[in-house]
Each structure stands twice: as C-alpha cells, then as structure tokens.
C-alpha cells in the first residue's frame, strides 16, 4: 500500500463554515462592534457623577490626624479660611500655629498668632475686593475642622481669636450623619 502523506485539509464540519469556504472569493473582514451597552453605561455613569458633583469643590483637606465629628442637621460648607485643630496642633490655612499643649498653657483666652494671621487674611481679602469695588464682600466666615477628641479649652481660644479678628460666623465642619429618630415617633 502506498504511503499517503497527510495534507492540510479541513474537516467536513469546518469546511462547510462560511469563514473557511473559498467558494465565493473575496470576503470583507469588517466587523461592527456593538457599542450600545457601552454608551448606556457611560450615560448612567455621567448622570450619577453629575448628581454627586459639588460646585464648591473640596474646601477641607482630610487627614488621618483629624477625625471629624458626625452631625445630621448641617448646612453646606462655605468656602472660607479653615482652622484645623488636630490631635496635637493648630493650623490655619496650612500655616502651623503651634502645639495645643503650648497654646492652652497660658490663661489668655486668645491665641495672638492666630489672631494676627486671621487679620492678615482679612486685610488681603478686603484689599482684593476693594480693587473690584466690592466693599461689602467680607462676611466673616471661618470654618473650624476639629478633631472630635479635641477639648473645649483649645476650641474656645480659637473661637475667641476668630471673633477678635472679625470672623464672627464660625462653622464647625462635620461629616454628614443619619438623623436621630424622634422621641415622639
């Protein structure tokens, strides 16, 4: 029996497929990708992100050193100078004022460096708005980003210094929490 060399040929099942058939000559390789689910997903994502979009941006920079307390009946945070009372230090707009132990050691109710810094910031703000003929722009808003374990002894000094520098509307930054169930049902 003669030896038959195996040749490259397809099985009958594959040969019957359109892809492997050479009967019709030229075949286009154009394949259309179905993008409808992709567009659906994009639309839902955009809607979700736009609904969560905050035009004011990030006023506070979160850090592990400051654990904010939780409150339910809050208002929106206004862009204003931020005083950070961390576990150990007090900062105003990123400028370190000192350690809490040092700042609460004296019997004085104010923190002179904080008051000075706030006055400086107020002057800058007013000068900037005076250049634009907007003299009633200063509202005296200030945000306090305090750690929840901070004591009132430092808070009262910070608040007093804010009031002394003309920042009378003080906002305590809090994390949004659930409303308490009411007692009367």
């Amino acid at each position: 029996m003669a030896i038959v060399e195996p040749t490259h040929h397809l099985s009958p099942r594959l040969a019957s497929m359109k892809m492997f058939s050479h009967a019709s000559g030229y075949k286009t390789v154009y394949a259309d990708l179905n993008v409808t689910p992709l567009v659906d997903m994009f639309v839902i994502l955009v809607l979700f992100l736009v609904a969560n979009f905050s035009a004011t941006g990030e006023i506070l920079s979160m850090s592990n050193d400051v654990q904010l307390p939780v409150a339910a009946n809050t208002q929106e945070l206004i862009p204003a100078p931020v005083i950070v009372i961390s576990k150990q230090e007090v900062l105003v707009s990123g400028f370190l004022l000192g350690r809490i132990d040092d700042l609460t050691r004296d019997a004085y109710l104010n923190i002179p460096t904080l008051e000075e810094k706030l006055r400086e910031m107020r002057m800058q703000y007013e000068n900037l708005h005076a250049a634009a003929n907007d003299l009633s722009a200063f509202k005296g808003n200030v945000n306090i980003q305090g750690d929840k374990n901070a004591k009132f002894s430092i808070l009262k000094r910070v608040m007093f210094s804010c009031a002394a520098a003309g920042y009378s509307t003080i906002s305590f930054a809090t994390l949004a929490g659930e409303k308490e169930p009411t007692t009367d049902g």
Binding site: F42, L49, L77, F152, T169, I170, F172, T174
Partner: protein, 161 residues
C-alpha cells in the same frame, strides 16, 4: 473604527435601504472625557457645617430678632452632665451616658428641648456654655440636637467667662 456613516449598500440602483447608523464615536469620546473630569473632581466625603457664634454676638443678621420678650434658653455642658435652663430656671441635670463608641446619648436632651420649644415656639436662640474639659464631639452633638429641635441661632461661650 471607521468614521463615516454607513448608509446602506451603495449604487446598483434599486431601492436604497432607509436604516442608517448614527456614528457614536464622538459621543463616546465626549462621555469618556466627561467621566474622567467628573471622577477627578468628585468630592467623596459628604461634609456639612454647623454654624455658631461667639456668645454676645447675633448669630447672623437675618436671624436677629427681638429676643427681649422671649425666655432665654441655655445649656451648661460639663464632661459628665448637662443642665438646661429656660428663662433662668434650670431643669434637673442630665447625666451623660455614652454607647460603646463613646457617642453621647441625646434622647433626654431632645425631649427637654421639645418641651421648651412647646412653651416658647418662636425662640430659636440658644446658648451653649461649655467647660474646658468638654470634648468637641460632645459639643457638636449637643449643637446638632439643638439645631434639629428648632434652635437655629446657637451661641457658644466658655463656662468661666
């Protein structure tokens, strides 16, 4: 991907098919850019603010009202107890109890504030006087409870001064 619109088979005469595909590529591009922008600018932590004033100052101009006729409401907050006074008359002190997460229980405070509010419904001003050892978390919780019970103009003052 091809950018042109596929308007069916070309030439050959006869009737042209009416179905046409909208080119979605620019739309996908726009969506991708918008999503990238929104994800980068998103603020994921929901932060709110409780507005207070130093004692002796009006909370804000629009909330200033003639409080002379109204009985003043004040809370003296200590580390372990608090006392509400209404028109200068103090109620019984409330002992502060906490849960396992050190969260203060404010049920009794809310009930007292409701009682006060029912007697003086137009009063929105309240002064919280706190001692030095009071935790910021407790103070915020008390202010939050007061705000939730209709006292919007809250002033904070130190106990010693």
């Amino acid at each position: 991907m091809a950018g042109g619109m596929d308007l069916g088979g070309g030439g050959g005469g006869g009737k042209k098919p009416l179905d046409s595909a909208i080119n979605l590529v620019p739309f996908i591009d726009l969506m991708a850019v918008t999503i990238a922008f929104l994800v980068m600018s998103a603020v994921w932590t929901q932060v709110g603010a409780l507005q207070v004033s130093q004692s002796g100052q009006a909370a804000s101009q629009d909330q200033a009202q003639p409080t002379e006729q109204l009985k003043p409401v004040a809370i003296l907050l200590r580390e372990a107890s608090m006392t509400i006074s209404f028109g200068g008359q103090p109620f019984d002190p409330i002992q502060i109890t906490r849960d396992e997460k050190q969260k203060m229980d404010v049920t009794l405070l809310a009930a007292r504030l409701k009682e006060v509010k029912s007697q003086e419904p137009t009063q929105t001003a309240l002064t919280v006087t706190a001692e030095d050892s009071v935790r910021y978390d407790d103070l915020v919780r008390v202010i939050d409870t007061c705000t939730g019970n209709g006292f919007g103009a809250i002033a904070v003052s130190p106990a010693s001064g």
